[in-house]
């Protein structure tokens, strides 16, 4: 089995990809337009929101990804181009057309994404200017700047990249993402762009992306639902020179595993940078009857505002964890259940364990908090990532927009 080597560079870590992030003035400050482009044609795959409300750029990209090929992605922050009617769709198409012209490629080879305020038309003059500036700035070192340009309430850019060997050749997979993630899975847009120089056709690429998303981003959202703009896209340009990765091969298994690791890293970065977050919280449900049940319970805990505020307050209020587990409709026996904060057993087989308050509290003082629920009912497990819930969450969301 190949080893996984973590490297820098984000979406430009893989060979043959260029990127740029520039400021065109949509947000009040900072870079707000990102461009990613491959020097050669790519296989493309994507996963998109299941929300009934779908933004114009998402509808456009979803159609184009179906063709299985693409060469560039243009994305802006500060304006989601969502709930914008026909004018919004024309603007998304124009955004792609402008990028295609600047890059000298076909319109259908450009994918589009937007994130930010809902319900306002895109400032097309600024966007047009931004795309031109980004095209001029494209560079094989542009990954980190592109990651900055898709941030909204994020406090830091999020990238991850790995190198592994496939059939004797070095293959790289790199990605960038943004989003406040778990804390507000209903509206905060999640965007993720991944590039790889592996040689892989659109169909196995789509399978690998679906599988990776299942174990990463889907452990950050409730029931797979999300905002009107949620988008994860991967482009594979084959520039590594590695032999093609076919469906149902060991190589695809290897590639999928590496892609999952990149996606999990990005997912944890999102949780860690959740709006107002002071802690990364990892919730594992173990010895469940199925993965689905384990995950449902883990998400129910991860989404409880009472659990999240208690963690913010570094309060070992395990009763809230247990009751949040009990509300999600999955049957389990509280009298057989154990509960841990870090490695400290707090609740054992239906009754409080005898633990001093300061011992129970200690695992909550760390920057990363691990909560484990052992159902003692089966052999399956699931892990979900979230963050705590602080004053700043309210501040950010009450003051955002107007």
């Amino acid at each position: 089995m190949s080893e996984l080597k973590w490297i820098d560079g984000g979406v430009t870590a893989a060979k043959g990809f260029l990127a740029a992030g520039v400021r065109c003035g949509i947000k009040q400050q900072g870079e707000d337009l990102a461009l990613i482009c491959s020097e050669c044609p790519c296989s493309a795959a994507g996963v998109f929101t299941t929300n009934q409300v779908k933004a114009a750029p998402l509808l456009l990209s979803r159609e184009r990804v179906k063709m299985g090929c693409a060469k560039a992605i243009v994305a802006n922050s500060g304006n989601a181009n969502s709930c914008t009617g026909e004018e919004g769709m024309r603007n998304a198409e124009k955004m792609a057309a402008v990028a295609a012209e600047e890059l000298g490629i076909a319109e259908h080879e450009v994918l589009v994404a937007s994130t930010g305020i809902i319900g306002r038309q895109l400032p097309m003059e600024k966007i047009t200017y931004g795309i031109a500036a980004a095209a001029d700035a494209l560079s094989p070192d542009g990954g980190p700047m592109a990651a900055r340009a898709i941030m909204t309430t994020d406090t830091r850019p999020k990238t991850a990249a790995v190198e592994l060997e496939i059939g004797g050749k070095a293959v790289r997979i790199g990605g960038m993402t943004k989003g406040a993630g778990m804390i507000c899975p209903d509206v905060a847009t999640f965007l993720c762009f991944i590039t790889t120089d592996a040689t892989i056709a659109a169909d196995p690429l789509q399978r690998a992306l679906l599988q990776a998303a299942e174990w990463s981003f889907n452990c950050l959202t409730i029931d797979g639902d999300g905002s009107s703009n949620d988008t994860a896209i991967i482009l594979a340009n084959g520039a590594s020179g590695a032999s093609p990765i076919a469906t149902a091969t060991v190589e695809l298994g290897l590639f999928s595993w590496a892609l999952s690791e990149v996606c999990i890293s990005l997912a944890k970065q999102i949780a860690c940078d959740g709006e107002g977050a002071t802690k990364l919280v990892e919730i594992s449900v173990v010895n469940a009857r199925s993965v689905a049940e384990a995950r449902t319970i883990a998400k129910s805990i991860a989404n409880s505002p009472l659990v999240k505020t208690a963690i913010f307050g570094e309060d070992p209020n395990w009763g809230r964890v247990l009751v949040a587990a009990g509300k999600c409709g999955v049957e389990f026996d509280p009298n057989k259940t154990d509960l841990y904060f870090g490695k400290v057993k707090i609740f054992e087989q239906g009754a409080p364990a005898e633990v001093a308050e300061d011992i129970a509290r200690k695992p909550l003082l760390d920057r990363e908090v691990v909560i484990t629920v052992d159902l003692n009912a089966g052999e399956y497990a699931a892990t979900v990532w979230t963050c705590d819930f602080s004053y700043d969450y309210v501040k950010i969301n009450a003051e955002y927009h107007t």
Copy 2:
């Protein structure tokens, strides 16, 4: 059709009921033990949590309500007696036994409820003292004090009572409730005790309560799930002298309607007093294909932290409302949907309506905010109540408990 007259008195508004609220020292301050008692035997009905984790007092009361009769309710705040194992069950039984002895009635005629911190054993000495003090203090004017004694993070007691005429006789229904409700449906305990001097057997009484709960309290919770202690109990003692209300009669319809009105009033009082709330928010979804779909969408909006923080910020961020509607799995066409803040149409048939920012914002400045989503797809509607989401919500929940 009889008219509904709103009156004072809470659980002692109906004839033949006595109540008291006293302090026995479970909470750091304030009354924390309530006793309600009928002078004559009652029919009893109840609805209880669907959470997998069920508190000892709830398990006990649920068993006893099944018999269809009871005479008294004893309830404490400050300690939920939940996740407390066998010792917790013995304590719940002892609490009922002490009350039975004080009141000179049978143990099985006493129902028990607790709310407060999870995972700690009840301080039985204080409870025993409190029950004796409450029995001494029982009075036909004790409803308001009893309502105070079940408060936890509530900022004010919540009571409602009505008088109506059934078969030429005045009949009264009065209730009291507590809870932070919607804002934290997963753990904050909801308790509701209702009394009536109507003459009605346990079976039609249970039907009437189920129906009333469906249109009131169930419009405050997600998917009907709730805390380990959620309990609504009604006692009917027949002291009005009105003729018996039988199943499938006009009188039962009248009684059910009046009971629903009492429950809706209590539900709105809970929403209004949600933890940290500054506004009561009423969300209606109209012209839907079914009541179930309308309610699912209304709850999805009502539970969105982003919608709630925007309302706290008095920010007419309608995009968040629309996207929260879209995430709940109910199919609808955003291009046929209209959205209103108060009477102001903000979004029309898939695109933003042309409304000046200050006009859009105005309905959000009120203490009561009404949001209406018109799906233009059918003939059904549903209304849900909630509150906004403020800094104080985080403060209360991060600092509660330890």
